[in-house]
């Protein structure tokens, strides 16, 4: 039994590593993808191209515009002199925001009255627009605070209004709210999913396609030896990929690793049960590698979209939220982010790990059961 399993493993590993393209896909692509994701998947909004339409042109209005510029979030690229230019800039997408200060802005403020400030946003990208709006409110709120601090004592001759609420925000686990900290560790989940599921399904189907399966069936190799021989190499490859991506996250992007790496690998093993289970299942319903690849992608895309990788599950319709409980990626992402950023352990993450265990056992069990039919 062990002897046959060993030779099956040796054969699989020779086959997987003999092809230079395969070596590249298995070990280099994950690192490259991590780097690309780390830079490209970035929801930080900085240097928003902004135009200012200052019809007032007083010290007050210029001060306000300068505050937007100084914040670092806005990059003032143009000062507009005429109304028609507003529409033109927006239509061409040359700016994402336009600040419009009406005539009489300074005079209103000087008189202690409320003066309107308009910000026009390009709402096609609703996420960015929302974030930009948030920055604009913060800048104007601060402007108001300082205005009260300087004007009130001067106009009334005494500190009448000194109370109020000041919000002090602290972002735990990701102090500077860097999106790479959030996304880079999660790339582990996506890469491990694609590599192990896609390649394991194709590795089994390849034996059918090139006719070696028929030859294997007449040998005394048992079903379990065959399945283990086909899946264990991908468990090893999955672990190596996790290690590679973790190293890139840590040393390239300085993503903190606050939790236990041992726990990360343990959870990866649980996650691999599901991905290899799905891979094996796909191999039982496919007769060509092309079919296996198509079926895998049919699973991979919804799995990624509905995992919470980029879009919060809480924002999804309730029916779809229930659906995500069947998605192994959902649990694994919580575990990865928990280990990397929060540094929590199994005492907190056990429900997700239990979820992966249950899901993995069911899928793997079902796939192994179905696998018999293709051998018979």
């Amino acid at each position: 039994m062990l002897e046959r399993l060993r030779c099956m493993l040796v054969k699989e590993i020779i086959q997987a590593l003999r092809d230079p393209r395969m070596r590249f896909i298995l070990f280099i692509i994950p690192a490259v993808q991590t780097v690309i994701f780390g830079y490209a998947v970035n929801t930080d909004v900085r240097n928003v191209k902004t135009a200012v339409y200052d019809q007032d042109n007083t010290p007050e209005s210029r001060d306000l515009a300068a505050r937007f510029q100084r914040s670092g979030y806005f990059l003032i690229t143009e000062r507009i002199g005429r109304e028609s230019r507003v529409r033109e800039l927006m239509d061409r997408g040359e700016v994402k925001a336009i600040l419009r200060i009406n005539r009489g802005f300074g005079a209103e403020l000087g008189g202690g009255r409320t003066a309107p400030l308009q910000i026009i946003l390009d709402g096609t990208d609703s996420n960015t627009a929302g974030i930009v709006l948030n920055y604009a409110s913060r800048i104007t709120a601060r402007f108001n605070d300082e205005l009260r601090g300087t004007q009130l004592p001067r106009s009334r001759g005494a500190r009448v209004f000194a109370g109020g609420v000041q919000l002090q925000s602290r972002a735990w686990f990701n102090e500077n709210l860097e999106s790479s900290n959030y996304y880079v560790p999660a790339v582990i989940a996506n890469i491990v999913l694609i590599i192990t599921m896609l390649l394991s399904s194709m590795a089994v189907v390849r034996e059918k396609e090139i006719g070696t399966m028929e030859q294997m069936i007449v040998t005394p190799i048992s079903r379990s030896e065959f399945i283990l021989g086909k899946t264990i190499p991908f468990v090893l490859i999955g672990f190596i990929d996790v290690a590679v991506i973790t190293a890139v996250s840590k040393f390239w992007f300085q993503v903190p690793i606050r939790g236990s790496l041992l726990l990360l690998f343990g959870a990866t093993a649980l996650f691999l049960m599901s991905t290899l289970g799905f891979g094996l299942f796909i191999s039982t319903i496919s007769t060509t590698q092309q079919q296996a690849m198509m079926s895998s992608f049919f699973f991979i895309f919804p799995a990624m979209l509905l995992s919470g990788f980029a879009f919060p599950i809480e924002n999804m319709p309730r029916v779809i939220q229930y659906f995500t409980y069947l998605n192994p990626l959902r649990y694994y992402l919580v575990i990865i982010r928990g280990i990397f950023l929060k540094g929590v352990g199994a005492d907190i993450l056990w429900p997700q790990m239990a979820g992966l265990l249950v899901l993995g056992s069911v899928i793997l069990g079902f796939a192994v059961k179905r696998f018999r039919k293709t051998l018979a």
């Binding site: 002897e3 028929e214 030859q215």
Partner: protein
């Protein structure tokens, strides 16, 4: 005890009956040929005998083992070479052999000798480090045979082993098979080549899943009613059409550039053929009686089957 026995072996795929009530037996040490055209049910029969497929009806035993209930112990006793090259193209010749040696649990001791023997047997020794996918068609088949023989099986199943193999490699291949027969191995070979069937001890003719006849090649030739006249002509197609129309009750077949006409009375028919063809302006180069080949038998049996 017979090496292979089948009893009403039947396989249906939906409405199609691929193998229909096959009953035969093969003695130990025999070279048995299963002969039929493409789609006759040869591969399906092989797959049922080797335990790859379960029969819909009936049963088969190989070396006394039931092919469904005792499929696992059966596998230790048989070697099988599928119609398509079934080895790993991205492993070398030696890696393939070692892999199969491991799978069959060959003891370490004596393993290298066995592999060396199989390599020299099949003239593959110089190609040990070559990837199996880069071998020529004939060498691939010989490697397939070597892998199927690694565990010294008692019964060897070969599914169209020389399909697409050059004549030299084919001769090599048969030399190896005769060597195996001398060692007492039972060989069950499916083939569409009738000249190969002629080399077998016994031949089963299979057509549309049914076993039409099963006997020694000589006895099968005896199944022919009458003798065979070989007609040479520059225009065999036209001649065949003509003769089929005018010669009553005789079967006419085209064999390359010649016609074979089966007849009870060679002299009478010979004159009739000459008269018909010359009357229609088709040149007759020669007409002479020949020994029936298995191909003639197959055509004759099949045409009998068709008129029945």
């Amino acid at each position: 005890m017979d090496a292979i026995t089948t009893d009403n072996l039947t396989k249906r795929f939906g409405n199609l009956t691929a193998v229909d009530g096959l009953t035969l037996s093969v003695a130990p040490g025999e070279l048995f040929g299963l002969v039929g055209s493409d789609g006759a049910g040869k591969t399906t029969t092989m797959r049922m005998l080797t335990g790859i497929m379960d029969p819909t009806e009936g049963s088969a035993r190989v070396m006394g083992r039931h092919t469904v209930r005792e499929a696992e112990p059966l596998k230790e006793e048989i070697g099988y070479m599928s119609q398509r090259f079934g080895l790993y193209p991205d492993l070398t010749v030696l890696e393939n052999l070692h892999f199969y040696a491991d799978i069959y649990g060959l003891p370490r001791r004596g393993r290298d000798e066995k592999i060396g023997l199989l390599l020299s047997f099949s003239n593959l020794t110089p190609f040990g480090k070559r990837l199996a996918g880069n071998l020529s068609g004939g060498m691939k088949q010989k490697l397939g045979l070597a892998c199927a023989l690694i565990h010294t099986p008692k019964v060897l199943f070969l599914d169209e082993p020389t399909n697409g193999v050059d004549p030299v490699s084919r001769r090599d291949f048969w030399r190896i098979l005769y060597q195996l027969l001398r060692e007492g191995v039972t060989v069950f070979v499916a083939t569409a080549y009738l000249d190969e069937a002629d080399r077998c001890n016994r031949v089963g003719l299979i057509h549309r899943g049914k076993l039409l006849a099963c006997d020694t090649p000589d006895n099968l030739r005896g199944l022919m009613d009458g003798t065979i006249l070989e007609v040479r002509t520059p225009d065999p197609r036209r001649a065949a059409l003509l003769l089929r129309e005018r010669l009553e009750g005789e079967s006419v077949g085209i064999f390359g550039d010649r016609l074979h006409v089966v007849t009870r009375d060679a002299e009478e028919t010979g004159r009739a053929i000459k008269a018909i063809m010359e009357g229609a302006g088709v040149t007759v180069q020669s007409i002479r009686p020949v020994e029936p080949s298995l191909e003639d038998v197959l055509v004759s049996v099949l045409s009998g089957e068709a008129t029945r």
